[in-house]
Symmetry: none
Subunit: 250 residues, 2 copies
DNA sequence: ATTAAATCAAACATAAATGAACATAAACAA
DNA sequence: TTGTTTATGTTCATTTATGTTTGATTTAAT
């Protein structure tokens, strides 16, 4: 039996029976548990199952049911994976800024590090993080933009000037070597710029559909970015490397 | 059964309207109560349920019947009525500040006036108001206090200094002629003071249980208050009148 | 207001499961 | 042939899920 066949059967088993143990699967297919774990890891990455300690469960009947609006976004799965990856880059006792945005949004859910201080201008992140008492959460404040639920403007910017963080997780609508990092709204762009000023390392968190896109307002030239967390390399990724930008793939 | 499955079922049970006791769930799933508590803790963190002493209830307050947690606060109905009254005091084109707090919380729901600009330091209010595109919403920012979901501290205060509003709707834990307006946390008190500084008129929004209560941190002397929106006059209301404080009853 | 019972959080203990590093062997390519 | 890749197995330090105990809180009853 080939690995692919085995994986296919594992998905079947889990989807029909709703859960399966690593030990059971190992016995069933006559392979080591390490192999099963590797299979499950892959299947989780492609969103076909959800792993648990000891095995895996169907992704369908698990807690988070994507809302209607979320389902409409075909890059949702990528976004969530990218956010998970980004969250894994946070070390214990880091101070970080998380920008508002459809991808960065999900970082909170996967933040596991201890003693983290988070600065954010996202209403959604503020709401989610306000439930966690294992980290310090600082909100920038500012005028709320209904469309993006970001807090922006002078209030946000003057708050951002107060802090120096280790890592910034930045979202945007377009990134290109030639045209830089861009977003549609000029006030939001200015606020993002303030975030960049206060961060030691800048992680751009985008799905691959944003490469070579260009929006109206320039945030900064591409060279300001230190890392790009994404799901696929752009075609001209050599040029990014040349600028000293490192890629972190999910 | 995996932890994930168990948690999923717990959510189901609770969302389907049934409250659940820790002891019942432990027996049902054949695990220790400590495990159930840990499950509930996590589910509460992700906002899926709300814990109570002895168990948990649904977080979605769409229930027709007042949930456990609501019943626990016997002043809830008063709070909501008071908030409704407070909201009715807002005129078209007013600029207002709404403090965080269990009573002020509800004001957003009843805000009908047009062209209003709202300043708030409440995470919950920011979240609720961010959905409305008929008003400008400015968030103070600041460090989030997990307990009260208020944003406080220097960031909040320096933001508040930027604005002059027509009306402030202030919450507190105690008000007395002699001891003034008080709240348990000193940082929160300082932030409330900053709100008062920037407001032309101060409306204290409290249910009648707060009269003659005294908490640790002084916000301001009673004389700073212009109006008190509440459900019942205090015994010494003549003294309040003497200070020029007017009562607005629901 | 006091007391008793229920519930809780925190600290500790433990066994199972895991991830990471390394090892092996078959398949493949030069 | 020889080197490289791929899938798998093995070992072990670390993490996770869970249970247990204990002292503190909360609630309910007197």
């Amino acid at each position: 039996m080939f690995a692919e066949e085995r994986k296919g059967k594992i998905v079947e088993i889990i989807k029909s029976g709703n859960s399966a143990k690593v030990s059971e699967l190992a016995k069933l297919f006559n392979v080591s548990e390490a192999t099963i774990r590797r299979d499950l890891m892959e299947l989780e990455q492609t969103g076909q199952i959800v792993r648990t300690h000891g095995g895996a469960v169907s992704s369908q009947n698990t807690n988070f049911e994507p809302s209607f609006i979320e389902k409409q976004d075909k890059y949702l799965k990528e976004k969530e994976e990218i956010a998970k990856k980004a969250a894994s880059l946070v070390s214990d006792n880091d101070t970080i800024t998380i920008d508002s945005g459809t991808t960065t949004q999900f970082i909170a859910k996967y933040l596991k590090a201890k003693g983290v201080t988070v600065v954010t201008n996202s209403v959604n992140l503020a709401d989610e993080l306000s439930r966690r008492d294992d980290m310090e959460v600082i909100v920038t404040g500012g005028v709320i933009r209904t469309k993006t639920k970001a807090m922006v403007g002078p209030v946000a910017e003057s708050a951002l000037k107060q802090f120096r963080v280790d890592k910034l997780f930045l979202g945007c609508n377009g990134v290109s070597i030639k045209m830089g990092v861009t977003t549609p709204n000029i006030v939001e762009a200015s606020t993002k710029r303030a975030m960049i000023e206060g961060a030691k390392e800048v992680y751009l968190v985008v799905d691959s559909s944003k490469f070579d896109e260009v929006s109206f307002s320039l945030i900064c030239p591409a060279s300001k970015i230190d890392y790009i967390v994404t799901d696929k390399l752009p075609n001209d990724y050599e040029k990014y490397k040349h600028l000293g930008i490192e890629f972190i793939l999910v």
